[in-house]
Subunit: 485 residues, 4 copies
C-alpha cells in the first residue's frame, strides 16, 4: 500500500516530525520491540491480571506482584532507554514523548508506568525541598534495572471526576512529615517505590481547594511497607500496568508545594498524563491501522486482496488522513507542555492555551483510537473477535485510554471552562495565525463566542458537536504546521 | 428519568409495537430472566469458553461441551417458551422475533442458538421431502427439554464473505444420501443435533452457483458421531453460543432443495439470521442504555446524579431517540421477512425490498449497538473497564453482532447490489409512500440514482456515506409508522 | 465386581450401619446428586475460586461472592434436607453425620459449610443466653432456602496449630456486646450470616487460657457489613466452600459462655469438625474407589478389563477392606460425640475416650483418603492427571482434608496428650471389651504404657508408628462391632 | 539443620557422587536457575496449558505453541548446557543424567523435552542409515538456540501399557520412505522438530511383534507441516512440556532399524526415559524436602521453629535417609544404562540386570516423590494447599512422574517378568556381591525364588510387597556403594 510509514512508529515520527537527536535511541528501541518485546507483551496480556502475593510463607505482608520475569525486563527497557532520565538530563520532555509514542504502538498499557513515573518525578523536582529531592529523585532517574518507579494516586471509591468531593484520604502532620489514611480505588502502577497522592490535610476546607499533594514512598523509614495493595483490578485492557486498590494507614508522606496550592499541582500532574494519553492513543490507532493493513494485504476475497476493494481502500485512506491529524493535535499538546511545564502560578496565557489543546487532544485522539481499533476488528471479520489473534486487544486497550485521565465528558467540560474563563480559543486563533486553513477555525471561534452567551445548562448541553468541530479543525490546521507536512 | 420504558424489553415492545397475542409469554419470560436468568448468563460469560470433553474415559470420541448445567436450563427456557415451535404452530415469525428480542436484551449470544435453529427448521420444512421432514422436524419443534437444536455452518478457513470461492467442503452422493468432507471454521452452535451445511457437490461448477445446502445430523444412522468438533473458539463475546471448528469426514447428509438452487436457499437461511441480528443489536443497545441509566441515577458528581448533568442528559436523549429509530428499522425487516419467507424463486419485488431493508438494518443497528455499548462503558468511567462489573461485556457482545452474518462492508455492498439490480430503493419509496417525512427519503433516492451512474469502482468507494444516510432516513420514516408512535 | 456397594454411599451406609429413620431422606438426597448435583459440583470445581464483588457500582462495600447460581441451589439442598435442623429437632447428630457422609461422597468441600454451620449452632444453642439464642438460632435451623449459614474462624496469619500464641484478634466490651478487631487468615465459609470467632478479651492472659469464643453476625444491628472479606484463597481443592481472609474492625460480637472457659468451648467446636472430617475422608475414599472401579471395568489391556488383572484386583480388595475399617473408626467417633456433645466441664471419661478416637480417626482416615485418591489417579493412568476427567480432583480435595482441622502431626500429638493425661487408651480397651480381636489392642496398650515412660522429647519423636498401629487396631476392632458386620 | 546439602542439587550430587568433569557446568546451570530460572518456571506453571495457534490469520495451519518467550529461553538453556550434545561428544550419558537431575530439582516437567530428545537422538544415531543420520542428527546436537528437539510418541487412545494391542497407527511404504496415518493420544513434546513414533507397517502381525519405530520430522520435505497438533492436554502438572494429541495423516517417516525388531528398539527408547524419570523423581523429592526445611526453620509454634519439634524432626531425618537410598537406586539405573545403551540384540545379562534395576527405580522413586511431595504440603499446613505458594505444585508434578513411562503396576509386572525370564534377581545379587548388607538381599532373593513357583495369577497377585522389599533392600545396599557414602 501507499501507507508504508504506518507500519512503524519510527517511520511515522520521521515522516511527520523529522529527525531528532533521539533517532538512534528510537531505532534501537523499536528493533527491540520487533525482535523480542512484542511476544512478551502478548504473553503478559494473555496472562490477564497478575497475582499479588500478599503474605510470604512466614506470614509477613509483602504485596508482591507476580508478573512473569520477562515483564520486568520489558518494563525496565523503557526506563533504561531514557523515558525518564533523558527528560531531566536534557531538560526537555521531547525524549519522553517520543519513547512513549513508540511504547504505545506496541503496548499502550506499558506507557502508563512511564507516564506516572514522569508525573511523580516532575512535582518532586519542582516542589520538593532540596533534602527530599536529593533523597528520592536520583532513584527515579537511574538508567539501569535498579530504577525506581513512580505512581499517581488520586481517585477514590466515589469517582475520579469530582476529586474535590470524593477525596477522603486524610493527612495529619507528624513532625516534619505527614501521615495519610484512606483508600485509593484506581491506583495506577500499584507497587511503585514512590507515589504522589492527593489527600486532604486535617482541617483543610472541603472541595478541591482543600486538597494537597504528597509524596509517599513504598517503604517506611524503618523498611516496613508503607501502603497495602488490597487487590489488583481485573481490567479488560492495559494489563501491562498493575492498577490496584491501595490502603493507606498512617502512611508516611511528604507534602509537595504549599498545601493551599495542592489542586494546582495536582492539575499539573494530570497535564502530563493527558498529553501522554493523547500520544498513546494516536500510536494505538496507528498500530490498529498497521495490523488491518497487513491483514487486508493477505486476505483474498472475490479474487483480490480485500485491501484493494474500493470501499475498504477508501476506509484506509480516511483513517490514515485522520491519523496525521490526530498525531498533529496530540503532538502540539506535547510541544506546548514542553514550553510551560516549569511554570508556576500565576500561569501565562500560553499555559491556558496548552490546557485547551490538551483537553481537545485527550478527547479527540482517544475517540479516534477507539473507533480505529473497532474498525480494525471489523476488517479482520470473524478472526477479529477471537482472543487467539490478539486483534481484539487494541479495542480493550483503547477503551481504557478513553476513560482514564478523564472521559470525553470531562475533557469537553474542562475545555469549555478554559474557553469561558481564559478565552483560550482566542489564544488558539492567535497561535495558529498564518496557518493555511485557519479561516475555518476563525469562523468556528465566532460560533463559540455566540455559544458562550447561552444560559449555563444549555451551553453545556449543546457543547459536544461544537467541541468536536473545534478539535477537528484544530487538528487539521496543525497538520499543516508539522515539520514534514 | 423519562425513559423508564428503556429498562424493560417488554415495556419497549409494548410502547412501540403494542399488545400482541404473546404478551403473557413475554412477561413470563422476562420475569424469569430478571429472577434467575441474568445471574446464570453472567456466570456463563464469566466462565469463558467451555471445555469440550473430546473423548470419554473409555477412549470413545464424544465431543461433549461442558457448559455448566444451568446453561442448559437457560438455553432450553427459550425453546420451551416457543422461540421455535410457535413459529410453526402459528405460521408466523412474530413470536420468534419477539422472544429473540427479549433474549438479546439479557444475553444476545443466546439468541444465536435460537436463530440458527430457526434457520435450520425453515429450509427443512420448506425444501425437504416429506420423509426427511417427518423424521427430523418434530424434534426441533418440541416444547420441552428434549428439544433438538439446529445450526448453520457455511464459513470455512478462507473467510465467510466470499462463499463461492471459499467453500471447499465436498459432497459426494451415496445412495439416497450424501457424504460430506471438509472443515467448517466458524460453526455456530457446535454440538447441535442438526445442522444445515453449505457444500459443493462433486463436479458442480466453481463459484456460488456450485454450492448446495445439506441437512446434517449429529449422529449417523448407526448412532456414531457424524461430525467432530475440532475445538471451540475463544471468542471475546457471545459465550452463550458454542462456536466451533467442525470436521466433516464422510459425514451423512441430505440435500435440501435442488442442488443448482443451493445459493438461493443459503441466502434464505441468512435472511433469518440477519433479521435476528438486527433485533438483537437493538435489544443490546437498549440494555446498554438501561445499564447506563441505572448508573447515572446513582453516581453523584458535583452535587447531583451525573444523569442530571446537561451534557450527559443530552447524550441519553439522543440515544433513546436513536433506539426508537433502530428498533423501527430492525422491526420492519422482521415484518417484511414475515411476508416473504415462504416465497421461492423467482422472488417478488417485496422480497427484494426486504433484502434492502434487512441489509440496512443489519448494518445500521450493529453499528448502533457497538457505539452504544462503548458509550455505556464511558458513562461508567473506570468501573466500565473492570470485568467485575460486566458493563464491558456489552461491547464484547456488540462487536460480534457487527461481524457475524456479514460485516458492515458486506452489508453495504449487498445493499448496493439489490439497489442496482432490483431498484429496491424505488420499492422502498413506494412502500413508505404517505409516511410523514418520506420527502427527505425521496430526495435521497434521487441522489442514489445519480450515484448509480458512477463507474463501478467509484460507485463502491463513495457509497458508505450515502448508505448511512439511507439507513438513517429509512429508520426515521419507519419510526412514524410504528403502531404506538 | 464384588464390591457393588462401593458405588453408592447409601448402599455402603445400609451395608455397614443398617437401616435408620433417615433412609428415605438419604435416598432422595443421593438421587438428586446422581441426577443433577454431580454436574453442578463439577462445574463449580472447574470454575476455580469465585470472584468477590467487593464494591457495588455505587461504591458501597458489599463483599458478594460470585458463585454461579446453581452453586447456591446445591448448597441449600443439604440444609433443606436437614443437615442442620434435623439435629436439633431430633436432638441427635446422627442425621447430620449421615447427610455429611453422602455430601462428601459427591463433594467433600460442600460438607464444610454444613459442618461449620453445625459448629456454630451448637455453641449458640448451648452457651448463649436465651435472648441471643432466640434471636439467631432459628435462622440457622430453617428448612428452606432462606436458611442462614454459620462459620468458624479461629486461625490467624501465624498459624492454626498454636492458637494460644497466634490469635491476636482483640475483643473489647461495649455495653452488652463486644467489639472485635483483628484478621482471620483461614476463614471457612466466608460470607456466612453468622460466625463463631476466637478472640482475646483485652486484658486476658496470654496463651490459650486467654481465648474466648464470640458469635459474630455478618451485619451490624444497623444493617452494615460487620466484617470484610479481604479476599478468597485460591485453594487447590474444596472449592465448594469459600475460604477467605476476614478483616474484623470493631465488629459487633457476643460472648459465648464464660470468657475464661473459651478454650474448652473452642475445642468443643473443633470436635464437630474433626468428626465430620473423618466421615468426609471415608466418603471421599469410597468415591475414589468407586471411580477407579468404573474405569477398571471398562479399560481393557492384554485382553481383559484391567480390574481383572490379579495385582490390580488385589489392590481393590485391600482398599475395600480398609474402607470398612476407616468407616468404622470415623463412625465410632461420631457415635461417641453423639453421646458427649451436651457435656460441659468437667467432662466425663467418655468425653476423653471420644477425643482419643476422634484424633485417631481424623488422622487415619485423612491419610487413607489421600492414599486412595492418589491410587485412583494411578489406576486411570495418563487420564488421571488430565483436568478434563476430574479424577485428579479427589486428590486435591483429600489434601485439604488432611490439613484443615489439624494436620496428622497435630492429631498425633493431641492423641498422645489425651493418653498421657487422661489414660484414654485404657478407656478404649474397656470400651471395646468383648469385641473379637481386642487382644491385639490390649497388647498394644501395654506397649504404649511403656512408651509413656520415655523422656518427653523421645516420647514424641517415636510416637508416630505406635499411633498408626493404634489407629489401625482400633479400626479393625470397630469393624466387628458395626451393626451389619 | 544438619541436612544443608538437601538445599542444592549440586551439593547433593557432590556429596553422593563426588566430583565429575561437569562440576563447572552444573554450578553455572544451578546458578542460573537460582537467579532467573525459578521465577520463569513458576510463571510457566502458573500460566497453565499454553494456547496452540492452529491457524495464522491467512488461514494456514501453523500449530504454534504459545508459551511465553521466557519459556523458550529456559528450555534452550539446558540444551546449550549440554544435556544432549555432551552425551554424544563424550560418548557417555553421565552429563545428560546430571543435567536432568539438576533440571528436575527446579522443574521436573522440563526434563521431559530433554529426555525425549535424547530418546530420539539415540535410536537415530544407532539405527538410522548414514544418510538419515547425517541429515538429522546434527540439528539435535547443536549447542545454541537453533537446536532441534526430539519427541517420543507411542501411546494411543486405548492406553499406553498394552502397546501391542493399542497402537493402530499404520505405516505404508512410499518409495524409500513411509507414510504414517493414525492418532497419538499422549504425545510428549508436541511441536518437536523430530519424533520417534511407534507404528504398525501394513501387513505386519498383530501384537507387539508387529510394531516398528519410525523417525518423523515436523515438516515434510516440501516444508509443509507433517503432523497436526489436535490439542494440548490440560495436565495438572509438568506444564513445562507440551503434551498433545497428534494427528498423522500420510505423514512422511523413516524406518529406524529392522521392522521386525521394532519392539526392542521401542523398549530401548523407554529405557532412557525410565532412568530419567527415576532421577527426576529423586530430584523432585529433594526439592520438596528442601522447601519443607525452609519453611520448618521459619514457622514458629509453641515457642520454637516447627523443625525443632521432635516428631517433625524425626520425619525429616527419615526422609533424608530415604532420599539417599532413592538416589542410589536411580543413579545405579543410570550407571547400568551407561554400560549397556550401545548393545543390540541379543542383549547381555548386564542388560537384563539393568532392566530389573530400572523398573525397581522407576517404581520406587516415583512413589517416594509422591509421598514426599504430599508430606511437604502437610508440613506447610494450610499454606500448602494454596496455589499462591506453589508448594502444591510438587505433588502435581510427582503424580505425573508416577504415571508416565509406566505406572507402578506396569513396573512391578515388568520387573517380575525380567526376574522370571532372565533370573535378573540372581544377577543383582552377584552384582552386589561384597556390598555390606547384601545378606538381607540374598535372603529376599530366596523368598522370590519360592514366589516364582506359585501359579501365575497368584504370583502376580501377591508380588507387590515382595517387589517393594526388593526395591528397598537394593536401594539400601546401593547407598553403601556410592562414591562418597
Amino acid at each position: 500500500m501507499l501507507f508504508d510509514f504506518v507500519r512503524s512508529p519510527c517511520a511515522l515520527l520521521d515522516g511527520l516530525v523529522g529527525s531528532t537527536a533521539y533517532d538512534a535511541v528510537l531505532d534501537a528501541y523499536q528493533a527491540w520491540w520487533e525482535g523480542e518485546g512484542c511476544a512478551v507483551s502478548d504473553a503478559v496480556d494473555r496472562a490477564r491480571t497478575p497475582w499479588v502475593r500478599m503474605f510470604d510463607t512466614a506470614g509477613k505482608r509483602v504485596d508482591e506482584i507476580l508478573y512473569p520475569p520477562e515483564y520486568w525486563g520489558m518494563l525496565k527497557r523503557g526506563y533504561c532507554s531514557g523515558v525518564l532520565w533523558r527528560a531531566f538530563k536534557d531538560q526537555s520532555l521531547l525524549p519522553s514523548f517520543l519513547l512513549i509514542y513508540l511504547t504505545s504502538f506496541y503496548d499502550c498499557g506499558l506507557s502508563c508506568p512511564y507516564t506516572v513515573s514522569l508525573s511523580t518525578a516532575l512535582p518532586l523536582s519542582k516542589y520538593a525541598d532540596a533534602g527530599l529531592k536529593k533523597r528520592f529523585l536520583p532513584s527515579l532517574l537511574r538508567d539501569d534495572d535498579t530504577v525506581w518507579q513512580g505512581a499517581t494516586w488520586m481517585t477514590e471509591i466515589k469517582g475520579g471526576s469530582d476529586l474535590g468531593a470524593n477525596v477522603e484520604t486524610e493527612a495529619v502532620p507528624s513532625g516534619s512529615t505527614w501521615r495519610l489514611t484512606g483508600d485509593k480505588y484506581f491506583a495506577s502502577n500499584a507497587g511503585a517505590e514512590l507515589a504522589v497522592v492527593a489527600a486532604r490535610p486535617r482541617g483543610a476546607p472541603t472541595g478541591v481547594r482543600g486538597l494537597a499533594l504528597f509524596l509517599l514512598p513504598r517503604r517506611r523509614q524503618g523498611g516496613e511497607l508503607n501502603y497495602s495493595i488490597r487487590r489488583l483490578k481485573d481490567k479488560t485492557g492495559t494489563r501491562s500496568v498493575p492498577t490496584g486498590e491501595i490502603e493507606l494507614r498512617d502512611s508516611e508522606a511528604y507534602l509537595l508545594g504549599a498545601a493551599h496550592e495542592g489542586i494546582y499541582i495536582i492539575l499539573e500532574v494530570l497535564n502530563i498524563s493527558r498529553v501522554a494519553n493523547g500520544l498513546g492513543s494516536v500510536a494505538l490507532a496507528q498500530r490498529a491501522i498497521a495490523d488491518a493493513m497487513s491483514f487486508a494485504e493477505r486476505r483474498v476475497a472475490f479474487g483480490r486482496p480485500i485491501g484493494e476493494h474500493p470501499l475498504l481502500r477508501e476506509q484506509f485512506e480516511e483513517r490514515v488522513r485522520n491519523l496525521r491529524a490526530a498525531f498533529a493535535l496530540a503532538w502540539e499538546a506535547g510541544q506546548l507542555l514542553n514550553e510551560v511545564w516549569q511554570q508556576r502560578r500565576p500561569y501565562s496565557d500560553r499555559y491556558h492555551l496548552f490546557r485547551l489543546v490538551a483537553h481537545l487532544a485527550k478527547y479527540w485522539t482517544a475517540e479516534f483510537a477507539v473507533q480505529t481499533a473497532k474498525w480494525c476488528i471489523e476488517v479482520h471479520g470473524g478472526l477479529g473477535v477471537l482472543e487467539e489473534f490478539r486483534v481484539e486487544r487494541w479495542l480493550r486497550e483503547a477503551m481504557v485510554l478513553a476513560i482514564w485521565e478523564g472521559t470525553a465528558h470531562r475533557q469537553l467540560l474542562d475545555a469549555l471552562e478554559v474557553i469561558e474563563r481564559k478565552q483560550a480559543h482566542h489564544a488558539l486563533i492567535q497561535y495558529l495565525d498564518g496557518t493555511p486553513g485557519v479561516a475555518d477555525l476563525r469562523q468556528l471561534v465566532q460560533t463559540i463566542d455566540a455559544h458562550l452567551k447561552l444560559q449555563a445548562g444549555e451551553r453545556e448541553r449543546t457543547w459536544e458537536p461544537l467541541a468536536n468541530r473545534l478539535a477537528q479543525a484544530t487538528a487539521e490546521a496543525l497538520v499543516r504546521r508539522l515539520p514534514n507536512h
